[in-house]
Structures are given as structure tokens and as C-alpha cells.
Symmetry: C2
């Protein structure tokens, strides 16, 4: 296996991102008493009490939806509902069910052929993390001074008046930055990574890994992880150009926010909620017409090696963005078109939990709401059905996962692509216009009289030699199977 | 086994108290870089880097000394060198070697027939303890509000200007007091207690258990501990009257500081260092003449049931007092007399580490110095030999462990006691005077011409009927074996 290898299973995967406090709650995990009601809007600091056994309970739902891999926001012991403020890297949060619940979840997932990727927060700890706490308590006498970047005493971890005295992520006192030049720290972090792979997880999503600007650190990280599990997935949270990390010796892939931008730029050019977008890491999404989108696709598909492109984590939203439906200004047709792209594009689609039910909401905390399991009357069943159909189409058609992606046609209203693998050929079409297209000519030779519409929405028929006629409703898309 | 049962092994034990950061250091435990040099005087906040495998390395030394049980100051993960500020109750501090080192220590001790008692700090946690940290981080939104006694927000755990906002031991911000009326907290603490008994420890020394003024809590604590290990020792840190806890359904015994006071009051009546004594929990030690001491002995031996008295943890000092040699104002003869009492008295003698080598020093941090293993030229070998002799005499003579203790004689200069068990009869004599006693008549019938002096220091010879003559050097003591 060469260094350039990326895990095969990722290329076939349909991911689902779970924010553990908010997805589902099991009565089998004892809970503290002071939780917020599940149905109320989330707050920045409150806990809802979701847990990992709640996820186990929903595996039927997820498998039925077509999900084959779960990516979890952090699950280790943390004094924050998002759990990015790690208190203990070796312990699954007790409120999530502890290590035993993770074991049960892993066993249940693996029995179904599902994979589990965890969020690895290795750049910074929390101010409650043991070795940092030791510095807080003992000042210059601490045995762990070199675990963090300490500048001056006293540290002002809880007192906003004084100078912080230490390096912290975004100068946030709660998030002291590890000193990864200290060997003990390196070993500690690598040890955490391999421990949980040995425990049974299938990969790491790396939180802000660019903040550890140390190629040797990540190369050794990869070596050790792969030594434990040669199929483990290492995907970095890098929002823009990630070439530095994708040479084959650091990450397999990154969270594909450039895809997010391009997809939304196309499908919601006129409805983008730039105010909400501006509050998150996406900052701004440039509207794109189909030819502009086609150019972006070229960039997306050629920027990295094919091995990487096929293993990218493509997404329409996450805990760090507004809900997809909110990004597109509430235009459900735009979301549906974006989902068609997501499930048709090279790289693994990753659905943010609840997007399939039509959840909407702005930036944190709104986008981290609970799933209204007990209120199915509020679910968008049409959307759910479409997601389910797209996911299963992807699983059924190798061309959608492994096929070559090419733009076939793009004009002011229409974007058409093909994906081909072995003898299989699929055509995807997106009508961006607010009106239906009827028998619109496409430069496409059909071997049969008509192509099979996999979503059952459009029509593609042979016309003159080397041409076909496409019919497609306003603001809708279709996947056609040829031959 | 009735409720009134106290562990048999305790009655036969010779305890040795170890302050883990300071006793011994093993190269097998990786250490942080920022440690204080072993040889330098200890500081309030610094770490020396002693560890549990260092203790394993010294088991030959301890067994040779006559030690059969170890009582450890706290060993769980903590951001303080004394580790009373618990950060994690389920993890042995990494600097001590972690859980694996404890396992190795327990196995090594048990293979030698030695027992291990840990310090249980259940009244308060530290401000880095997970559930308290959650309150610090999330304020009124914390899921764990009812784990502590929170009065007002914001909490001022690190800001001495504001009101603390929560209950803490002695109002120390670092030590938030558990709310033991919350069921989850009770279960947590009981769970910790039984977990480590299942792991293999032989008992708990309970730190400030009187602060949890809740008999039901301690009754259930005992029930659960005894269910795991019917021979586990439960000994409370109660400095004065402990009747409430010693009814047979809570603790087996307590740390016998009243014995400490009485013993020092007798042996060092004229040299007590009241200034240092006043800085610790002993506060003041009343000088006693032998008749006064005899009266104290009566109180000590009749205050609790015999089962309790035989299981008391008798001590001359601890991490919470000045060194024994310092308490007696540096008078080694007084320390030797006190040691004779310690090893002759009903209840298990507990030696504070290093006292056998003649370490001296005032209250914390001075009394918590490292053992100068590499500087044997500084050891008091005479003292060490005496301790070793006393410990082995105790192990060899059931009368010293199980025998009835009676004051035989007391006057202004002399205190004489007997201990009898089965057919064995021992007489102990302490000459408090700064001059030798020669052929001093005692109301004692000897069956042989002379009694055997076990320490080889004094002489006890038959005189007229019902009388014996005692000869003993100035400020010295002896144990005689009769018949």
C-alpha cells in the first residue's frame, strides 16, 4: 500500500454527521438532572442530554436512510455541550454513556457494516484539562509547564481583566493551545489517536489541524494511526486550500467546504442568506451561473490527486455553519438541487444530522438543535424521501461513487454532468431556472430511445444523431441512467 | 460476621504512611521535565516526582523494617503534590505511574502479605474536577449544578476579589464541597470506593469524613465496601471524639491523634515544641506526668469498644503534623520513648515515612520532605535499628498486638505497663527522668529470677515476694518478657 493510498471504504461511504448532545437520547444512560427540555431551542451553554446509546437506537433509521458511516462531533469528556473543550481524552463523556456506550455503538455499527469517525481536537485542550489545570493551580511550580505556551504569571484563565498569560485558540481563555514541540505532548496526542483506533474507531476528523503547523507531527500521526488500522480515515478540517496536508503523508482528505460554496453558489444564486453565511467560516458565498459552477468543478476535481478527490468529505453544512436550508434562504428547491450534487459528486457525501428532515436554523446554537423524534408531524417527509433515494442511488450505482465526473453542458439555466464507471453511464441534470424545460436539446448520444430517470422527475429522449432532448421541471434535477 | 467486626489483619499490622511524591522515585515511570531536585527542601507547590513503582523498589526495605501495611496519602490524579485536590477519582496520577503502577504495587505487596490502604477524599473535589469544572464553564446552564453547593453566579473560583459563590472546604476556592445529598453524588462516591476495592486495595483512610455529617451516607459506604471486601479497613480522620462514627456501622476506627497527644505529653513534657504543634491540627499538647498519662490511657482504652480500640490507627505524626522529632523539640530520647509506646499500645502502629531515619521538620511543607536514599550518611541508624526492633517485636509477640494493656505503675519519673495474651506476659517500662533508675522496686511478682529485656537496655529482677527491681537508663525504655 503506497503512501498515496486513501481508504477504499470512504469512496463508497455515505456519511452522516452527528452532534451527540442533540441527536437522540437513550433512557439507558443515566443523566444529570439539570438538562434543558429536548423540545426547547438550544442555548450556547445548555445540555440536552443526547447520548451514544440514543444513536444505537436510531441505527435502523440511519441504515434505512442509506447511511454507511457516522462522523461524530467530539465525544470525550468535556465541560461544553459541543465537547470541543476536552477535559479528558481517554474517557467518553459520562453523559454520552461513557466508554461502554462507545463500545456498544462501535459493535452495533460494525455489525451493520457501518463505520465510525470521531472528531479529534488536538490543537488545544480546555482549561480543565489536567496538565493545564496543574499550571493554573501551581503556577511556575507546575510539573507540566512545557505542555502549554505559558508567557507570564499569574495566568488569567477566568479573569478577563488581566493578560491571559498563555497561548489559546483564538485567544479564547477556555482553549489553551498545546505546546506540540514538547515531546511528551506529541506522544500524548499520538497516544490518544492510536488508543481509540485500537478501541475500534475507523478514523479521525481533525479539528483545526492547520493550527498545528508542523508537518512532522502529522506525518508521525498518520504513520501511527495507519499502523493500528491501515484503513483508518484521516480527514482534516481545512476550509480552503489544503495542498500542504494532502501530499499523501498527512491527511487523506479534508472537509470539502469549497464544494459547499460552489454547490450553494449554483443552486441558490439568488436566495443565499449572506447574513447568516457571514457569521460562519464560509464568510461569503459567490453566486454562480452554471458555466461558473462548471469552472469551479474543474478546480475542485483537479486541485488534488484523484485518490484524495475520491475521499473528500463533501458537505452542505455542519455544526459550524447555518443549516443548509437556512443558507439557501429557505428555498427548498435549492436544497434539493444541492443534495443532488452532493450525492452525485466525487468524494463521500456527508449529511448533517436532521437536514434530511428539513431542519433549519442560523449559526450556533440554532444549527445544533435536537431532532424532533417525537414530533414527526413537523418532519419534511418529501425531503427525507429524496435524501433516502439519493443515498440509495449512490450505494446502488458505482458510477456515482467511482465514476469519472465530467461537465456535459452548462448554460444560463442548466447544468448537466455525466459520471461513468465500467459500462455504466449516468447523466445528472439541474434546471436552475424558475420555469420548466421542455425537450431542450443536449449534445448527447443515447443508445436507447430514452434514458431511465432514476428520481422519476425528468425525461431524456433520443433526438437527432448526437443529440437528446431533456425535459425537467422548474428548479429541479434528475439523474438518468444510460445504457 | 457482626456489624461490630473490625478487620483481624489490622490488629496484627504495622503500618507505614507514605506521601507518594516524596518517598521514592522509579526510573520506570516517565516524568514531566519540570520537577524540583529531590535533595532540595520541599515547597508548597512543587513536585519531586516520587511514584508507586519507587515504592515497589523499596518493599524489601519496608518488609525488613517490619512493615506489613502501607497507608498512602492520595494517589489519584490531582493538580497538587499532596493530591488532596482530586481531579479524577478513577485514575491514579500519571506522575505516580497511573493505574498500572498501582496494580503492580498491589500485586507486589499482596505477594508479601502486605496490605495497602488508600486515602479517600470524599468531602470535596478540586476546582478542576469534571462536574465542578462544568459549573465553572457553563454557569447556571451546567448539567451538574446539584453536584455542589452553588449559591450565586458567577462563581469566583480563581478570583479572590469576588464572593466565592459555592461551598468549599475551609472556604478554600480550590476545594469545592460535594453536595452529598444529591443521589448521583452519593452513587459516584460509593462507586469510587467500591471500584478501588475491586481493583485490590485493602481499605480506605477517610479524609475529613466528619464534614459529611450524614450517618446514612457512611453506613451505606460501609455496607458497599464490606460487600466487596469483608476484610477492608475503614479508618476515619477524626482528630478528637469519634464516637458517632464508631458504633460498628460506619468506620472501623480512626486516626488516633488522642494517643499522639498523650504519648508526646508524657515523653516530651519538658521539650514539646508548642510553636510548631500550634501550627497543626494538634494545636497544643498538654505535658503529662506518668500518673496523668495513666489516666489518659484509661480514657483511650475505654472510650470505644475493644474491637475498635484494637483496630485504631495509632501514630506519632503524619503529613498533617510536624515531624515527630520536631514535635519533641529534637529530643531523640523522647522520640524513642514515644516509639516504644506506639509499638506497645493496643491498635495498629503507623509510622510516618522517614521518621525511622530521623527526619525532622516543621509543618507542611517541611514535614513532607523526600527520603534521602542516596545520602545514607545522614540517616539515624540507631533510630532505624530501634524502630526495626520494635516492629519485629510487635510482630513476634501476640501480647503486644492482642494482649490486655494495663498500667502497672506510675510515679513522677516512671511509667510501667503490662500486656498479657494467652500465657504471654510483657512488661513495658519508661523512665522519663534524666537520670538512671537502679533497682527501683515495682509491685510485680516474677516467676523467674529475672525477666528477659527484649530491647537489651534495662533489667528487671525478682526481689521480695510480690516485688521486682527495675533498672533502666536515663530517658529510656524497655520491654521485658515474663515467663
Amino acid at each position: 500500500m503506497s503512501d498515496m493510498y486513501t481508504p477504499e471504504w470512504v469512496k463508497d461511504a455515505v456519511f452522516y454527521q452527528i452532534f451527540p448532545d442533540r441527536f437522540a437520547k437513550s433512557a439507558r444512560v443515566p443523566k444529570p438532572t439539570h438538562l434543558e427540555p429536548w423540545e426547547m431551542p438550544p442555548t450556547v451553554h445548555g445540555y440536552k442530554g443526547g447520548d451514544l446509546l440514543g444513536v444505537v437506537d436510531k441505527l435502523d433509521y440511519l441504515q434505512d436512510l442509506g447511511v454507511t458511516a457516522l462522523y461524530f462531533n467530539p465525544i470525550f469528556q468535556s465541560a461544553s455541550n459541543h465537547r470541543y473543550h476536552t477535559h479528558d481524552y481517554y474517557r467518553v463523556d459520562p453523559m454520552l454513556g461513557g466508554n461502554r456506550a462507545l463500545k456498544e455503538l462501535l459493535d452495533a455499527c460494525h455489525a451493520r457494516g457501518m463505520r465510525v469517525v470521531l472528531d479529534g481536537v488536538f490543537n488545544h485542550a480546555s482549561r480543565g484539562f489536567f496538565q493545564f489545570h496543574d499550571i493554573l493551580e501551581n503556577g511556575p511550580h507546575s510539573a507540566y509547564l512545557d505542555w502549554f505556551h505559558v508567557y507570564t504569571f499569574p495566568l488569567n484563565a477566568y479573569d478577563s481583566d488581566g493578560a491571559l498569560g498563555y497561548a489559546a485558540w483564538w485567544q479564547l481563555p477556555a482553549l489553551p493551545k498545546f505546546n506540540t514541540s514538547t515531546q511528551a505532548v506529541r506522544e500524548f496526542l499520538w497516544g490518544v489517536a492510536t488508543h481509540w483506533l485500537e478501541f475500534g474507531i475507523d478514523g479521525w476528523r481533525l479539528d483545526v489541524p492547520n493550527e498545528i503547523a508542523d508537518d512532522a507531527f502529522w506525518r508521525e500521526f498518520r504513520r501511527r494511526c495507519r499502523a493500528v488500522n491501515p484503513e483508518c480515515y484521516i480527514v482534516g478540517e481545512i476550509w480552503d486550500d489544503a495542498e500542504r496536508w494532502l501530499g499523501g503523508d498527512q491527511f487523506d482528505a479534508v472537509m470539502n467546504y469549497p464544494f459547499t460554496r460552489a454547490a450553494f453558489g449554483l443552486v441558490a444564486a439568488s436566495s443565499l442568506n449572506q447574513r447568516e453565511i457571514g457569521r460562519c467560516g464560509l464568510q461569503y458565498i459567490a453566486p454562480l451561473d452554471p458555466p461558473g459552477f462548471a469552472r469551479e468543478v474543474e478546480v475542485l476535481l483537479t486541485r488534488y490527486r484523484p485518490e484524495v478527490t475520491a475521499a473528500q468529505l463533501n458537505l452542505l453544512g455542519s455544526h459550524d455553519t447555518p443549516r443548509a436550508l437556512t443558507i439557501v434562504g429557505g428555498d427548498e428547491s435549492a436544497l434539493r438541487l444541492a443534495l443532488l450534487l452532493l450525492f452525485s459528486f466525487p468524494g463521500a457525501p456527508c449529511l448533517y444530522y436532521g437536514d434530511e428532515l428539513g431542519l433549519s436554523g442560523g449559526h450556533d446554537p440554532e444549527c445544533r438543535q435536537t431532532v424532533p423524534w417525537d414530533h414527526p408531524e413537523g418532519w419534511n417527509r418529501g425531503l427525507w424521501e429524496m435524501v433516502r433515494k439519493l443515498a440509495h442511488l449512490r450505494l446502488a450505482h458505482p458510477a456515482l461513487r467511482r465514476g469519472r465526473f465530467r461537465t456535459l453542458y452548462a448554460d444560463a439555466e442548466l447544468y448537466v454532468f455525466t459520471r461513468e464507471f465500467g459500462g455504466e453511464r449516468l447523466v445528472g441534470a439541474l434546471n436552475l431556472a424558475p420555469y420548466a424545460l421542455a425537450a431542450k436539446p443536449l449534445p448527447l448520444e443515447l443508445s436507447a430511445a430514452r434514458a431511465e430517470p432514476l428520481l422519476g422527475a425528468g425525461r431524456l429522449e433520443a433526438a437527432a444523431a448526437g443529440a437528446a432532448h431533456l425535459s425537467l421541471g422548474a428548479r429541479s434535477g434528475e439523474l438518468f441512467q444510460l445504457a
